[in-house]
Symmetry: C2
Subunit: 166 residues, 2 copies
DNA sequence: TCATTTTGGTTTTGTTACGCAACTATTATT
DNA sequence: AATAATAGTTGCGTAACAAAACCAAAATGA
């Protein structure tokens, strides 16, 4: 019965993946961050088929992640560019890149490097920090219902430990 | 035919997505971070069908992201738990969560909060910092071929600007 | 102790998502 | 004037996903 969507899950991660989780979507965003702008540019650099690319770009525009701007004099040449919402995916892309550099390629075998233009040094790993700016151990974080939690979700939180007992 | 895989793309983001990009995969990782351990626990909490869950867990174990430990006396009760490689996906999950809190739900409507146990305060947003620890503007980053770049890729880098001309 | 439920799956059968090739129409290039 | 490039759309085949039925061993309850 078709693919199950995550939009009704009342979970932020599920929301993101509902929008970004289709095959190719995040690679298109990465390619846009890399500087590609045209339909043909995405097609060539990614090796994606045209119909899927058209669908993905349409969806990204609908979601406000990219914008399609007319750059031709006669209305048949376009640029796709990231909006502020799309550019803010940089931490998602960067964390994915760093993870596979650590666990798939390994140090010294990274295919690309992201460096600080001013110093020439690779940028340091993304880490979760506390308010004081200190890297945080996961033992110190707790997940709680947020201000937008549905009552049903609040109930689920209390039961969560029992949902999969030892 | 079949779905095109990203593994041969010589790009770290593509590598990650090749492993993590299937539908449901990252939600299973999130659920594991939340504390779920059993097959039935994932099934109930996510609403995923059994056959897909079985495939995903098998793949996650193969990839070394999760591990299946026997917790029954007679060998039919198991726990799925994140390995170090899997737990290191926390920045990926957190960046996805924060992105949709900013752009989908909006402030004050977050369904869950991740807080510092010691202070009770929500943890601050993940940001890309330079070596001095200062938040960095994207204008100061450059992408370069890394030590593991294939010659073909190196060539592509120089041509990248021309691939999608103005 | 015998039936029922729980756990952790596999199998079968549909439907949707994706890949590839062919096609189109307008606009640049030679 | 012919050729190629841009930005797609359409049709068809295959792979991925969903739902339900089924299964065997083990734990639970009466």
């Amino acid at each position: 019965m078709g693919r199950k969507r995550f939009a009704d899950m009342n979970c932020s991660v599920a929301q993101s993946l509902d929008v970004l989780g289709d095959w190719w979507t995040l690679l298109i965003v990465r390619e846009a961050m890399f500087g590609t702008r045209t339909f043909g540019g995405f097609e060539r650099n990614l090796g994606i088929s045209k119909n899927i690319l058209a669908l993905r770009l349409e969806n990204l525009v609908e979601q406000g992640i990219m914008r399609r701007v007319d750059v031709g004099q006669h209305g048949t040449r376009y640029h796709y560019q990231l909006t502020e919402k799309g550019a803010d995916l940089i931490t998602v892309i960067e964390s994915l890149r760093q993870w596979s550099d650590r666990w798939v390629y390994g140090e010294g075998r990274e295919p690309v490097q992201v460096v600080d233009k001013r110093t020439g040094q690779p940028i340091p790993p993304l880490v979760i920090r506390d308010e004081a700016g200190e890297p945080m151990s996961m033992g110190n974080v707790v997940v709680e219902p947020g201000p937008g939690a549905a009552p049903a979700t609040r109930r689920r939180f209390g039961k969560r430990q029992q949902a999969s007992p030892n």
